[in-house]
Structures are given as structure tokens and as C-alpha cells.
Point group: C2
Chain length 405, copies 2
């Protein structure tokens, strides 16, 4: 049986990127850039005022103080978005608004609050302190310079990046197409949540978790519904699913007589890369390629399904989408608050609640860990990861924890 | 001038919840539940097998060992989703698939791998070890019990909760309606990113950051575009914006002669609650109510706008949406990796890159902190928060850091 790390290596070995598409910037949140973006101009592209105040020459404020105030003639007013008309010379000031271009001749700005108007028309102001050169001026290019590489292909577009791309005037950008992920649930015991409940059956929950997990990544779930344990119907549905970028099946991959998923894929000419990973929960994970498309066969237990998606499918989808940034799920070290019994040879993913106290992480399980017990997943904000060589991990030990989004 | 904490108290004092609406569960990711959800039945609602194996009576395996194997007659097979027909008595076994109901008479399940078939038709199996009572049986109600409160109003629906609600058969649920957030950018200097660039102007980026920040919360942005510094047009646009749940304006709230936002709101009969907060960046933040709707006037600098949204508008929107969970942005303590100069009397939000090394948080600024410098926001994953009483914070000090999503 292969280890979790070996499985990931196989999954990520040969990944086809989705092709780029051009979209409007306003629709770009959480999409992945498919181009390097350079700035076509300086931002700002002109020296401008950081304050509402008066533009003037700093040399004219030399030795200004309460005892030695300096008087300036206000010769004009310049507002943001309008080119200044007047040029400024000695002992003159031009009233200036935040963001407005610095008039020729001026080299500094004094805040309105630091001046005193000394005539009723606002034509003269008095200044009682000395300025430093360039004070309250934002220089051209101080934000971004012309030709700067502002964002690289593979970056996820978050709110600040969206704003920066707007400030560059990039109204349309290239991003990787969202991959379409087909989700197929199998099993005679599974019924649709719109159906009436009947004993011995289970409502389909895996479509809902896999659908949500897929959307959370920014991919598009395609729900193929539930197929019963009928071999021909299963093969037909699998073929439908192979029309998309990735197919995930849920259930039917254990050792049972009705576990038809692997035979069905084989019958359709699939190349099976592996069908078990040495992990708990969720050991039976089928992965391979069929008709050129990657597919996963996840076990039907709700928690196994979530764990399989989070640890093995998510990295593949992110790579398909061209994502090159740091994954948002983070590994941290935490102090274990209870003993944990595991089994050598298996990597354990244990649902856990991880908290921060006194600048340190602490973690504890969220209760019974049976793979059908989705409730303990509700309380979890993390997985404790216990490696294959462990057996009993004692309270107080430092363990690796994967924080969930 | 009021402090950041006083401002938040005022903002959150009187919040109208958006009304509940019923939606399909499949569309519920990241929505906020507007009802308490109880389970109508046990999950599972019948004892079932955790393995593919044989159901039998544990007492019949007493003292079984390699030297003393026990033989069982396999009298039936039961698959998941089908009610078992046969009852089981002494030294009998029924082949059982994962998830299938435990037949009457059986109390334990042995895994297929731990048995040996001893006739060609699979009618007899041999067992060489003793079972414990209840082994490999998932008990009715072990996941969720009938009548259990599974999720409370105000919870955010994530992937596990979506799965749990599905397993309860809740195909439709009540959630709070997404609030509609109107976004209006003001200023003669601001031009639409579809326009041709011209010197002295700035492309509108605040619509894009505010739009993205709003979507990230699960609310609906309504883009009202850009309005020039024309008093009548501004008032008209503000009135349009007041038709939604919340109006955010950007720009025009400083001390400049063309800062028309506050007068326009006043003219429309607004109750102004405050118009400055003792923070940097982003001090001029206008907040009040007009025609029964809350509104914010944010400053036009891109970073001030983001900081204002993150710290003051986000908590309000989450409360409007009925969110009662723990906010996903977390405060942690980190060691400062450089000196930081602040100004007493102001709370500083400093763009920072926070990392984890040896189970400890470390943080440093992302470069120049001018409020127009959106680029330093790109590199930031956090804000260092420096309180009003500080002045110079030395390298090595423990500081409070707000991690961004």
C-alpha cells in the first residue's frame, strides 16, 4: 500500500492546466491569473498632495515660528483631477486638495490645520512652523513604477490585487478557466434528500460536501446525482462524468461484493494508478485516468470522503487551475491536549479543534472518530496529522496540525 | 475624536437583521442559518456494519484461535440499502456489506480479511480469533440522535454542515437574505477603468476592492459607479444608494473644499453618528443613518478604504446577516521584527506579513505605509494593531496582529 506522500506525488505528476480565458476584472475575485501583469505607467503618474492644504516652497518657510510667522499670498486653488494653471514663485501659496497635482514651483504642502487665514477672503495665510522639503507630497511612481511586474501568473486574485489591477486600468484580464468537477454518488442504500425517508436507507450527503468543497476552491461542481449498484448504469454515468475535467465518485470502492466502481473503470479502459492509501480514515481511494481524464473513487463514508477531498483532490484541482501561490491551509505545530492511539503504518487525519492560548497552538480531538461520524467534522477547525511511525501519542506532545479554511 | 472601539460600539448598537428566506440546500454554502435545526431521526437509524464482512454472534467465537478454529454456516447475504430477510442463530453467519443493516440475532461483525472460506460455494467460513461484542457495528444514533440540536441560527454553513443538513434530509433551509451593499465612488479625479487614461486622473480602484470585500463576506455589491464633485448629482446618487441595505461612499470626506459627502448626507436629513475615528490610516470615516438606512463615508485613499471596510463595515455586515459565529479573522500575538514609530492618540493598522517559525508568530511591515500605497497591501496577510498609547514600538516586542482571511 502506498503512503499519503507517494499518493500525492502520483496525483500531481501529470496535470493538465485548464486553458486561459479573458474575463472582466469585476468578476475576478478568487480567480487565478493566467498572465504576468506589468504596469503601463507610474502610479501615481504625477506628484500630488497627500493632504488638503497649501502648496508652497519649503525655503520660504525657513525659520518660521510663532514669533516669526511667514505670510503667503494664496494665488490659486487646485483640485484633484484638474491640471494646475498657475506657477508659483516666492512667498506664494496655492490651495490644494488631496490627490491634486503639485503646481509648478511648489515643492512642499502644509496641512490646512497648520495654517491661519489672515484675511476674510482667504487670500493670505500665515504659517508658524518650518516645513521639510517634499512634506505631504506623494511622489510619482511611489506606489507602482511604469514597467513594474505587479502580479504573476498563478496568483489568486484577492481584494487588494483586484484593486491594484483596477488602478492599472486592467478592465479585462486572463485567468485560468474554472475546472468542472463531476460528482457521482453510488449505492443502493443512498437516496436523494428530496425523497421520503425509509428505513435502511441513508440520505445522500456526500454530493453536498463535495459540491461545497469544490465551490470553495473556485471550481464548478457538476452533480451527476446518485446511481444504484447496477453495473451498466454505473458505467454509463461514469462515461458522462468523463466529459468534464475531473470525475469524483463516492462509494463502492471497498472489498464488498457490490463495490463495482473499480471494475467499471477498468472495463472502460482506465489506467488505475492506485486504489488504497495508507491513511485513516479513508483508506480506499481509487485514482487513475480514463479516456484521458483523471478520476478519483472516494469511499462512501462521509468523513472519509471529506478527508480524501481535502488531502488528495484539492491539491490536484488547485494545480489544474494554475494556482502557484501558497495554499491557504497551513500546517502548524500544536501541543496535544489528550492521548491519541493510532496504528503504525497508517497516517492518521484526526478531526480536531485547535486554539491559540498565550501565543501557542493547542489541539484536541472533537470526539469519536468513526468515519461515518460527520458531526465531529462540524466541530473541527483542523486535522491532527499523525505519521505512519507513531503508535500512542501522549498528551503534551507537539504534533502537526493542518488548519482548515 | 472617538476611538476605534467607541466607533465599533456605535456601529453595532442598532443593527437591522436582513429577513430570512428559504433556499435549496445545494445553494447554501457560506450562507447564515436563520433557524435552529433539529434531527427528525437517529443517524444512522439502524445498527449497521462498519466493514465488509460476516455478521454473527460473538458468543460463538468464544476461545476461537488458530488451534481452535470455529466454523460458521453462511445462510444469507445482506447488502446496504436492503432490509435483511434471515434471522441468525448459533454458529451461523450472514455475509454483510458496509452500511448494511445488522440482521436479527447477530451482535458483531468480523472483517472478510479475518475469515477463511472453507468450501468452494462460500457456504462455510472459518474464524481463528475471538470477537468482542459489538465489534465493527455502528450503533443507531451514534452519529446524531433524534431530537438533537444539530445547528443553531446564526451559524455559517460550511462544507461539513452542508453535509450534515443533507444527511438530515433538509433539502430546503432558512437563511438570512444576503444584504445588498451599494458602493458609490466620488471625485472629479476618478475615471472608470474602461476609459482612456489621462494625466492628473486616477483609475477607480475602490469600487473593485469594496466589491471584492463585500462578496467575500457573502453579501451582494451594487455598483453605483463614479459620481463627479457635483453636489446635485451626488445627492441623487446617494438617494439611489439608500434603497439598499447599506450605502458605502468612497472619497470626499476630508477637509477639502470639494468634500461634499457629509453636506450632501446632512441635506438629505441624515443623522451623523461620527465623522472621524482616531486611527491611521483612514481617520475620516463618516457613519450615520439616512432615511432609515445605515451609511459609511470612507476616505478615497485605497488603503484607508480597505482598512475602513475590514475594521468597521465588515462587523456590521456580518451582524446584518445574522452571523453569530466566531469571526474568521483572528487576533494573535506576534514578535515584531523591526522598530515601528506611531503617534500617540491614534490606533495604527499596519500592513504586515506574519509568519510562523518554531511554533511562534513573527511579523514585519510590508514596506512604506502611505495610505495610497495599495501595493503594500498586496504583500500583507495581516495588520499589526498598535494601540493609542504607544509611540515607538521596539523590535522584539510582542504585538497584536489581525490575520486576514
Amino acid at each position: 500500500m502506498i503512503t499519503a506522500n507517494q499518493a500525492l506525488d502520483i496525483i500531481l505528476e501529470k496535470v493538465s492546466l485548464t486553458p486561459p480565458e479573458e474575463i472582466k476584472l469585476i468578476d475576478s475575485l478568487n480567480r487565478i491569473l493566467a498572465e504576468d501583469v506589468y504596469s503601463d505607467f507610474d502610479i501615481p503618474d504625477f506628484d500630488n498632495s497627500a493632504m488638503d492644504g497649501y502648496a508652497l516652497r519649503f525655503e520660504d518657510t525657513d525659520k518660521a515660528s510663532g514669533d516669526n510667522p511667514k505670510i503667503f499670498d494664496v494665488i490659486d486653488i487646485v483640485r484633484a483631477g484638474v491640471l494646475p494653471k498657475a506657477n508659483l514663485t516666492g512667498n506664494q501659496a496655492i490651495k490644494i486638495m488631496t490627490g491634486a497635482m503639485i503646481p509648478k514651483g511648489a515643492d512642499s504642502v502644509v496641512k490646512i490645520e497648520d495654517t491661519k487665514m489672515i484675511d476674510p477672503e482667504g487670500k493670505k495665510i500665515q504659517l508658524s512652523s518650518q516645513l521639510s522639503k517634499g512634506q505631504n507630497i506623494r511622489l510619482a511612481g511611489e506606489n507602482i513604477k511604469k514597467g513594474d511586474l505587479v502580479a504573476t501568473s498563478g496568483s489568486k486574485i484577492n481584494s487588494p490585487l483586484c484593486g491594484v489591477l483596477a488602478s492599472l486600468g486592467k478592465s479585462r484580464i486572463k485567468v485560468f478557466r474554472k475546472p468542472k468537477i463531476a460528482i457521482l454518488v453510488t449505492g443502493d442504500e443512498v437516496i436523494d434528500i428530496e425523497s421520503e425517508y425509509s428505513q435502511g436507507k441513508l440520505y445522500n450527503s456526500n454530493t453536498y460536501t463535495l459540491h461545497s468543497q469544490t465551490i470553495s476552491l473556485g471550481a464548478i461542481p457538476i452533480d451527476l446525482g446518485i446511481v444504484s449498484d447496477d453495473y451498466e448504469q454505473l458505467k454509463e454515468k461514469i462515461q458522462q462524468g468523463l466529459e468534464y475535467d475531473l470525475l469524483i465518485t463516492s462509494g463502492g470502492v471497498s472489498m464488498g461484493d457490490y463495490d463495482l466502481v473499480k471494475p467499471a473503470f477498468k472495463d472502460l479502459g482506465a489506467l488505475i494508478k492506485f486504489h488504497k492509501i495508507a491513511i485513516r480514515p479513508g483508506k480506499p481511494v481509487l485514482f487513475g485516468f480514463c479516456k484521458g481524464k483523471p478520476f478519483f473513487g472516494l469511499p462512501g463514508n462521509p468523513v472519509s470522503s471529506m478527508v480524501g477531498f481535502e488531502n488528495f483532490i484539492k491539491p490536484l484541482i488547485l494545480k489544474m487551475m494554475g494556482f502557484k501561490g501558497v495554499e491557504t491551509t497551513k500546517l502548524v505545530e500544536a501541543t496535544l491536549e489528550e492521548d491519541i492511539k493510532t496504528k503504525p503504518g497508517l497516517k492518521f487525519f484526526i478531526r480536531a479543534q485547535t486554539t491559540i492560548k498565550d501565543n501557542q497552538f493547542y489541539t484536541r480531538t472533537t470526539g469519536p472518530q468513526g468515519s461515518a461520524i460527520l458531526k465531529s467534522m462540524l466541530l473541527a477547525n483542523s486535522f491532527i496529522i499523525i505519521d505512519e511511525d507513531a503508535d500512542l501519542v501522549k498528551k503534551g506532545t507537539k504534533v502537526i496540525v493542518k488548519l482548515l479554511d
